[in-house]
């Protein structure tokens, strides 16, 4: 599959290069009459089977609006996109024109010189309208390198029917989560919760819950190996060891979605991007069966990370003007409203929230306050590099190959190697 995508991207780029060689007018993406033309290759990272359909449809509508532009839609699995883009962008061949860049990747790509600054271009329309939190990750070194597409956070998803069968209420703390899990197991035979063990992003709400964080960018200090970090590792390990949650070291996303959609587990921690896929499951034919609540609080309180996706333009794109126009279209208020109605994703424009169809959306109504108080990560180039060392140790802790103390200490050591001069 990887090869297929690379090949497609290569062919697309070759086609792009071939068309771009036609003349100066074409390489600027505008014909003599001022009409946009050429090919825009877009790497999307959304979930295949649910989200991708809507984004593909939007791209087609853009093509209909600009007859001369051909949008090549390529879906790159989210887990691979960061490295794939860096490989392609560095060599200068096979890179897309537009990339859906996760918030933490954006400063890194910008720092490496892979992204085109968007200030003063057509891409940044009504800049003031963007939610400040969402716009924060698009800025690097006083320039804007991306346009926020969606914003999100984490919450606890639960199966209302299973909860009713077990006679339990939504847990608000980790301790309650454990008793709820036990009740679910005893009364329905199902597992309480699914916890992603192969992706450290899902660890963040537990870390924040104990009052910890990965790093403190203000004081230039690594904080993951603080006592709070150890405590958080102990909490997740205890959830898995006690049977309150189950986990996997591989294929976590597929297993989590399958287990929750089929009613094998009663809860999972997840974000708005999982809503469309979850509704497709047999347990949620009646959409009302899905409940969403804030993540359970740890000993220091309740906290969830702020995430989301941006759209950015590759600095080496041969078709900058059409790419800017495409980004502008994809992040326009109309497009965002459509994405929200069809996929329940959270818009990044303040004005969209007041539209009637968005205002009455229950998922948005739940996640908006969560996002408002979600914990923002430092938007430094290294933020995108913090998960790779953490996930190795996180999985090791969950599978009993190391202790929580050693796990966070090893993670902290690699962070200090990465962030030169930090404490």
């Amino acid at each position: 599959m990887r090869r297929g995508i690379t090949a497609t991207a290569l062919v697309a780029t070759l086609a792009l290069a071939a068309t771009a060689c036609g003349g100066d007018e074409e390489s600027s993406g505008k014909s003599g009459s001022g009409e946009l033309e050429g090919t825009v290759t877009w790497w999307d990272t959304s979930t295949v089977g649910s989200e991708d359909k809507v984004f593909k449809k939007l791209a087609e509508d853009f093509e209909a609006k600009h007859k001369g532009v051909d949008v090549k839609y390529v879906n790159v699995p989210f887990g691979e996109a960061q490295n794939k883009f860096k490989n392609a962008a560095q060599s200068g061949s096979g890179a897309p024109d537009v990339i859906r860049s996760e918030v933490a990747w954006t400063p890194e790509f910008a720092d490496l010189g892979y992204l085109a600054p968007l200030d003063g271009t057509a891409a940044l329309k009504d800049e003031k309208d963007f939610v400040p939190q969402a716009a924060a990750s698009t800025k690097y070194d006083d320039k804007t390198y991306a346009v926020p597409q969606v914003i999100d956070s984490l919450g606890i998803f639960y199966n209302k029917k299973l909860f009713k069968d077990a006679g339990v209420e939504v847990p608000t703390t980790i301790a309650e989560l454990k008793t709820v899990s036990k009740a679910v197991k005893d009364r329905t035979g199902k597992t309480g919760m699914y916890l992603r063990g192969d992706d450290a992003y899902w660890f963040l709400s537990f870390l924040y819950g104990e009052g910890g964080d990965l790093v403190d960018a203000k004081d230039k200090t690594v904080t993951v190996d603080s006592p709070a970090g150890v405590k958080a590792m102990e909490v997740v390990k205890d959830l898995v060891d006690s049977g309150a949650a189950k986990t996997d070291a591989t294929d976590g996303w597929e297993n989590m979605q399958a287990a929750f959609k089929e009613g094998d587990v009663a809860m999972m921690i997840n974000g708005p991007w999982a809503i469309a896929d979850t509704y497709a499951g047999p347990q949620f034919k009646d959409k009302a069966n899905l409940g969403v609540a804030p993540v359970p609080a740890g000993s220091a309180g309740q906290g969830a990370p702020q995430g989301g996706h941006n759209l950015a333009v590759y600095a080496g794109s041969k078709n900058l003007d059409a790419s800017y126009a495409f980004i502008e279209y994809m992040s326009s208020a109309e497009s965002q409203a459509r994405i929200t109605t069809e996929l329940n994703l959270l818009p990044t424009r303040t004005s969209v929230y007041s539209r009637p169809e968005v205002a009455k959306n229950e998922i948005v109504g739940f996640f908006k306050p969560v996002v408002d108080k979600a914990i923002e990560r430092p938007w430094i180039p290294e933020t995108g590099s913090l998960f790779a060392p953490l996930v190795t140790e996180y999985t090791k802790v969950l599978t009993g190959q190391t202790t929580p103390e050693k796990g966070v200490r090893t993670t902290g050591d690699s962070y200090r190697e990465l962030l030169k001069g930090w404490k």
């Binding site: 490295n83 790779a388 090791k396």
Partner: protein, 337 residues
């Protein structure tokens, strides 16, 4: 043509001796290179394209890899061409620091330890299984060709396809293997989620993939042993074990020496099985040297090209040492390999 070149080599060598013996008036022996060029220009012209291609596809990456391993190159300081922007390389030469770090740090040695366990158990078990099956299939049994076809099947399917199939089979909740076990009342086995089971699982898949090659190679070896030898041994009263020990094993020596060497090198660097099955996980439990080198170069961030090349060069050195030692041992035992 081979004969022709052989002759001219002998002739050229002879000429050279004569020339040196007679000592011409100039007192300067003619350039050996020029002479060999004028005599063998045709042979040189024939091998030139091959030398050029090998130089480009093997030599250049090798030299570049060795060079990078002596620097501190990573994705932040290498040369980048992005559209009109050109960012020049700013990495520096650091000598043997990377090698010192790799050999004194725990990570390389612990990964090497598991890589050795993985290689020895895979090659050993694959060889034993391949030899057993080859012996069974070398007899006249009913449906022999059908069995042969079926046993070669894992080889005929592209490697990544079968590895993905195994990944589905191993899935803890939804995989076929655990459903089968559940039918027998056995609890689900965490095939890829537990470090020890994951090690077992990757070895099992690699054996499954490697047996057909062993089988075919050893079967060929078995068929080249003359049947008369077995008949003569039987006449002399040798039992089945004695026949196997004293006729089959010596008869297979040259074939098995080659397949063990090849299989060791392949298994040591068996990237797809580990990468597609576990990605080296859980944690780093099944990470072998080559998957870890890949991880340095493509998965961590910033991608560390220097460390990755260092591990690559170390892998090359280890395998070369192995090949040389292996050859020595075989030669000592009287094989002209």
């Amino acid at each position: 043509m081979a004969v022709h070149t052989g002759q001219s080599v002998a002739k050229a060598a002879g000429d050279f001796e004569v020339a040196r013996g007679r000592s011409r008036g100039t007192g300067k022996p003619p350039g050996g290179l020029r002479r060999s060029l004028s005599t063998h220009w045709y042979a040189w012209a024939m091998v030139a394209p091959v030398v050029a291609v090998i130089g480009v596809i093997v030599g250049y990456p090798l030299v570049r890899g060795i060079y990078l391993s002596l620097t501190d190159a990573n994705e932040r300081n290498v040369e980048r061409n992005i559209g009109v922007n050109h960012l020049p390389a700013t990495y520096e030469f650091v000598g043997l620091d990377n090698y010192a770090d790799a050999l004194t740090g725990g990570q390389f040695l612990s990964t090497l330890g598991w890589t050795l366990v993985w290689t020895v158990s895979c090659v050993g078990l694959t060889f034993v299984l391949g030899l057993t099956l080859a012996n069974i299939l070398n007899r006249r049994i009913a449906g022999r060709s059908a069995y042969r076809m079926m046993l070669i099947l894992p080889w005929a399917v592209p490697g990544f396809v079968s590895v993905f199939a195994w990944r589905f089979l191993y899935n803890e909740d939804r995989g076929f293997l655990n459903k089968l076990l559940a039918g027998g009342g056995i609890d689900a086995v965490p095939w890829l989620n537990d470090p020890t089971w994951a090690k077992f699982s990757v070895i099992a898949v690699n054996i499954w993939l490697g047996v057909p090659f062993m089988l075919v190679a050893l079967l060929g070896g078995l068929q080249s042993i003359p049947g008369e030898m077995y008949e003569a041994a039987e006449m002399d009263g040798a039992g089945p074990w004695q026949r196997f020990r004293h006729i089959t094993m010596p008869g297979l020596r040259s074939v098995s020496a080659t397949v063990i060497l090849l299989s060791t090198i392949w298994t040591f660097n068996m990237f797809p099985v580990i990468f597609l099955l576990t990605r080296g996980g859980p944690g780093e439990a099944t990470q072998i040297l080559v998957t870890q080198a890949y991880k340095f170069s493509f998965e961590i961030s910033p991608r560390d090209f220097a460390q990755s090349s260092t591990w690559g060069v170390l892998i090359l050195v280890l395998l070369m040492i192995f090949a040389v030692v292996y050859q020595r041992v075989l030669r000592k035992q009287g094989d002209t390999w």
